[in-house]
Symmetry: C2
Subunit: 779 residues, 2 copies
């Protein structure tokens, strides 16, 4: 009854078996060169394909009937369907209609399976295309336009004092190959930002990106042969840091799988786990999760409530979620792609509670179906990082074999005897927590990369955009406004400082031993907090510095802000991490003076203080440039603050503990003081590393500009805490004023090099992808 | 040939004429009670409707054929279509299938027009529904579930020292009716947050919300009878502030239309413009834009380049965009709904350039079609506020009648003679810029409302969530951690301070005269900047204080952050506004001492300083509670800083100007200094108003708690700038330390009242809509 009407896009697109032919049918009707006869011939040839069923054949006949051609509006629907699907697959480089058809078939196959094996299908499509007698390539180009070429950057407005490429080589450091490799990978057309609105499509694209990187060898950098001793974590972190110039969902997903999940097997498992799992981790054959946090215990993970009870009868662990507050929460890779998880649970063997341990628990079968006893829920939409499939997991008495315990630090034998080389649940727990260090190092590096992206955009825009100026003359560039210099160039200096500090962290991490493991952990905790807070602040400043343009999605700052906002609270809440740093410092401090308590401490402090900064009127008042721009002076002041805060908070704590105040309460009363100590410690350390880094640079031009940035960072630290330094008599008012002036002067000196300094970060233009960051006023 | 298969959802939903019948068809197949005979009877009755064409009838027959019923999966598609459409229309309260069908028809009508006039259609549907013989209401309830009821709040964890309702009455102040009215409007089911991903649907929903508010009288508060003298802007701003507890796109759209567009007619137009336009503004019959910013001139609007040239021959103005940099940029309401715009352009009459003036220029006809000569482009996706349709506008020699000039401050007569009561282009321009003041007052108020929402969520979560604690005991609530108190309660105190300061601003604004207009403008500029920066900082703190939960869209903080982020740069970039404040202060300062230059200034300064703060060791060292918690002491210190900065920057400027430095350059060299002055001024003013506000409160319980907040704000100001005060000898180290301690102590005192203090903001639960802000641990 409806066969008297024209063919519709609906009927064509609703039949998956016709999917491979859709591009050809579209081109056949829009090419304008095909005769009716040719159309009929195409139909005949197509109809002989064995995969077409009766209904498909009927619709195909209607779609090739020259008497009742499809209407233009139906053809538009078909074209948009093709474009949309091709865009989803990001195969803008298709060479032929056949190839495009095969991809459409793949997409449609998600519903009903491919109509024929792919090789056969491709072969048949190729023949059909040839029979069509039109140029497939041109037709495809018209149908699926390639992405627009990246715009050219404009040159900086002022001559630069150094070669940005030479500086980039300094920043690329020990792992230039890993970084260049990632830059090359990211240069492929597939790596273009995607619409983040369609969450499912975005997640699948992120997974496809990750798979593509795994295929090309990203995972093998970290896990070369499933072998711990061969792992090159330094190179992997360098690769990861470079990857963070691009989409941050990809970075976090890579971090969850390769970083947290892979590292848990590497560090908590033993040789048989390495052999069995690491190659599949490297290839992404086995996408994994790191299931530590629970709803009720996010920061305080020592008290997680998931239980793993050993069943001697069957030689299995029974993993169980006792109530809803104990569900695993925020687990990356869980909602969609993860097939297995490292689950942290309270181990119980023979009725004995043995504290938190990690086990491998399968989540999904090879087809992606969730396994019995496991329940997974999507965490839902987030501020950013929506390409990462965070989920919640419940376990209902899930059984896993005894071998699934990651048993480097604690073993259970078949009889149910527990053994551990580390006595004490608490110490064992903190040893296991060491797995988080890799994650924190990586987050710090990724955060800094995002800060670099934001600064690059804002500095280039500030160098180009003019607003206000002298009456009757041309308006002035934003970066020539004093306020604009201060708001962007102080953070630029801090970004460089952190770059050197993170190099030091990675080196310490890669070379860590059992002896300095705790120290490296504290270092990672402190720098993760300091770097991620910096990133949040920088991106806010960058957004405001770009005004309305910074608010446009096209200019990338919105995604940078939204994606990194959680960096300050995930992988350890910054406030909690900083307390950890402070407690670590106090432990070291106490150990140094264990024998000779309070008096010795105070005496040593007094000695140190005297040696560190001569607190005499001459120094506290000296305001000459040579003195202010002396890194040793800046460092001595920061070191004095750290020592002083350590002594004073230690005194306060002893006093309270001595008076019988409960330990938690005593620490709580000094919490701000502890945070101030941690901050002072990290800041001193960052300046120290920046100074060493500048010291090591040989080329005079680079040394000069980096020296300026280092002074700018050091003096900014003194300026921002001038209250404390004045309060403690380390500065006098005149000196505080002189420091403020010097900071302004340094900004003005750095200004001409500003664009070259962000160019030296080496962020590929395609990653930046912000019109205002590439020299255009607006999208 | 295809009639042997079952009916599909595609064919049903692609025919707009069947749209009204879709709900009935769905219910007919899923109700399970209908016999084949009844189905046939329904078909017969439906088929007699005159609006069904042949194709619709054919498909309808297939959809009612009892032999080949639709498959379950096709019915699911139909159900989801109905739900989606109903959700878009937010008519969850439909009473019948007929009503629901009519709504679907309306939506489909967007494409092809209604198949019949609505009354006829409704009548016919009603009859069909009756003939169906099933309960339409129940069927609708099952089909379109109503929104879940809002969860109950949990009670605060500690007893409260005062009645939050009494405090709310204090905050509601002069306009409780306007505020309660808006709270009642927002309580309707239509006002629920919507998915912001589908930009078109979101914008249309925002427009529908706005229309609903206009119908209920929101616009009439500001423009009661198209009459300036009757306008109650204070009540309107109070309504606007309350509206800002809900979706901020709606607030900004309301601000653009009622605030900027309406106010431009009110303040720049004359009586005939008021009569003709204001009633249509109030009713939203004529949605309008405020077209000031251009791509090349965002902040520096005095240099906009759009031209309005008077053509004496025709008595028209010719409005023209000379090049792409002069396109109107970021114009709210332009991309989709605006029908007319107040356009700021350089006026040229008889070859003479007369500076910036405003004209009314129609953009779209009644059908929404863009008029000839006008080109409009969408600004594209933004970080937030995607419910506002920002656009770019180009004018190609668009002609408007002479009467369209908003001619209060400058008139052109038919012969082309220009007249103005204000001599000088520049002065005239700044007078016209006064229209922006309403916008800035409103943005400051809306920003503060958003800060209140964020604080409410974070404080309630912090009062409920436990993490860490003494060994072996229950974990401690977040708000009982010292750091958590400081990070949330200091901003809470500042929020209260701003609430009182903004009350003062609104009062000054409402009562402004020609004499104090410039002063009120500066006040609005300074408080807009101070409040919006505060909001950005508070929401960041709130997000981090809620950890991962704060990162979930469901908990509202992501939208609050994204939507308000632009507040710091729109309606005047904050940095630019603060310079305006400083320049205003300097003008006043210069005027005060015009006759007796430098010496008098210095002498007066010395006198003042001595009177203001006794800078003797006793005061600078006094650290007792009574002294620290003395608002007069805090205020004297802040006032001293303001005066000192005014004198010092004035000196620096004179020195430079005296040495022949060009004015722009001289100001640029002192830019940071000017910003510091503006900041000091605003902060002093805010504390002053808070003190006055507390003074006026009678109820002792409220007075005590507000007094604590006021001390907390005042001392926080001293603490955060302790460097400056120490540098200038106003504090000694011991006193700075004592202030820090006192701030910690005040936070601990405020802590038990924290929840009650956010409850007193009176934010409707439905507006908050964040599970963690309503006493639930997680969504």
């Amino acid at each position: 009854m409806v066969e008297d009407t024209r063919p519709t896009a609906h009927e064509l697109l609703s039949l998956p078996r016709l999917a491979p032919l859709v591009p050809m049918l579209y081109v056949a009707w829009t090419d304008g060169e095909l005769t009716h006869e040719e159309l009929r011939a195409l139909g005949e040839a197509a109809r002989q394909q064995p995969w077409l069923d009766l209904r498909s054949n009927i619709v195909l006949a209607r779609w090739l009937d020259p008497i009742l051609p499809p209407s233009a509006s139906e053809l538009v629907v078909v074209r948009e369907h093709i474009r949309h699907t091709a865009e989803k697959l990001f195969h803008s480089g298709q060479q032929s209609l056949a190839e495009l058809g095969a991809h459409l078939a793949e997409v449609a196959a998600g519903r009903d399976g491919l109509p024929a094996p792919m090789p056969e299908l491709s072969q048949a499509l190729k023949q059909l295309e040839d029979s069509l007698g039109i140029s497939g390539r041109e037709a495809v180009r018209a149908l699926v336009p390639a992405a627009a070429p990246a715009p050219k950057r404009v040159a900086p407005s002022e001559p630069t004092s150094f070669d940005p490429e030479a500086l980039r080589a300094v920043l690329d450091r020990k792992y230039p190959e890993a970084r260049e490799q990632v830059r090359a990978w990211l240069d492929a057309p597939a790596f273009r930002y995607t619409d983040a609105h369609d969450t499912d499509a975005y997640r699948d694209r992120v997974f496809a990106w990750l798979k593509s990187l795994a295929d090309q060898g990203l995972g093998r950098i970290a896990y070369p042969e499933g072998n711990e001793t061969r792992a090159d974590l330094g190179a992997f972190i360098a690769a990861f840091e470079t990857l963070a110039f691009f989409d941050l969902s990809l970075v976090v997903k890579a971090g969850v799988h390769f970083g947290l999940f892979g590292a848990s097997i590497l560090f908590l498992g033993t040789e048989r786990h390495h052999r069995e799992y690491l190659p599949k981790v490297a290839s992404l054959e086995l996408p994994g999760c790191f299931a530590m946090s629970e709803l009720r215990h996010g920061s305080n993970v020592r008290d997680v409530e998931t239980v793993a009870r050993y069943d001697k009868e069957t030689g299995e662990f029974v993993v169980h979620t006792p109530d809803d507050g104990a569900r695993k929460e925020w687990i990356g890779n869980a909602a969609r792609h993860g097939r297995i998880a490292t689950v942290f649970a309270q181990l119980e063997v023979g009725g004995k509670a043995l504290g938190v341990h990690a086990l491998l628990v399968p989540l999904r079968d090879v087809h992606g179906k969730v396994l019995p006893g496991v329940r997974i829920e999507d965490c839902g939409e987030k501020m950013g990082l929506n390409g990462v499939d965070n989920g919640r997991i419940w376990f209902d008495h899930v059984r896993v074999p005894r071998e699934n315990l990651l048993d480097r630090f604690g073993q259970v034998d078949a009889k149910g005897e527990y053994q551990s080389s580390i006595p004490g649940d608490s110490k064992r727990f903190f040893t296991m927590l060491g797995t988080l260090v890799a994650g924190r190092v990586s987050v710090a590096c990724a955060a800094l990369s995002a800060a670099k992206s934001g600064l690059t955009i804002a500095v280039r825009y500030g160098d180009m955009r003019r607003q206000f100026g002298p009456v009757g003359a041309q308006e002035v560039r934003l970066l020539d406004h004093q306020t604009h210099q201060l708001r962007l160039l102080k953070p630029l200096a801090k970004t460089y400082a952190l770059d050197f500090a993170l190099e030091y962290l990675v080196e310490r991490y890669v070379k860590r031993t059992e002896e300095d493991a705790r120290e490296v952990e504290a270092l990672a905790a402190g720098l993760k907090a300091y770097a991620s807070w910096h990133t949040t602040a920088v991106l806010q400043e960058a957004r405001e510095a770009c005004g309305g343009q910074g608010y446009l999605t096209a200019n990338r700052l919105p995604a940078l802000k939204a994606d990194t906002d959680v960096f300050t609270t995930f992988e350890g809440d910054n406030t909690v991490l900083m307390q950890l740093v402070a407690k670590g410092l106090l432990t070291g401090y106490r150990q140094r003076f264990e024998d000779d308590r309070v008096h010795a401490v105070l005496k040593l402090l007094a000695d140190r203080a005297a040696g560190v900064v001569e607190r005499n009127p001459f120094t506290t008042r000296r305001t000459d440039v040579e003195h202010l721009r002396d890194g040793d002076f800046q460092l001595r002041v920061l070191r004095y603050r750290e020592e002083d805060l350590m002594a004073s908070v230690s005194r306060r704590l002893r006093k309270r503990l001595g008076a019988g105040v409960e330990a938690f309460e005593a620490f709580n009363q000094c919490q701000e003081h502890l945070l101030a100590l941690a901050h002072a410690h990290v800041e001193r350390l960052v300046l120290e590393q920046f100074l060493k880094g500048v010291e090591a640079v040989r080329e005079p031009g680079l040394k000069t500009v980096l020296g300026r940035l280092c002074d700018l960072y050091g003096l900014s630290c003194l300026e921002s805490a001038s209250g404390w330094f004045l309060e403690h008599g380390l500065l006098e008012g005149s000196k505080a004023r002189a420091i403020r002036k010097e900071v302004e002067r340094l900004c003005a000196e750095v200004r001409p090099d500003a664009v070259a300094l962000v160019d030296a970060f080496g962020i590929p233009d395609t990653c930046l992808a912000a019109p205002i960051g590439l020299g255009r006023l607006a999208p």
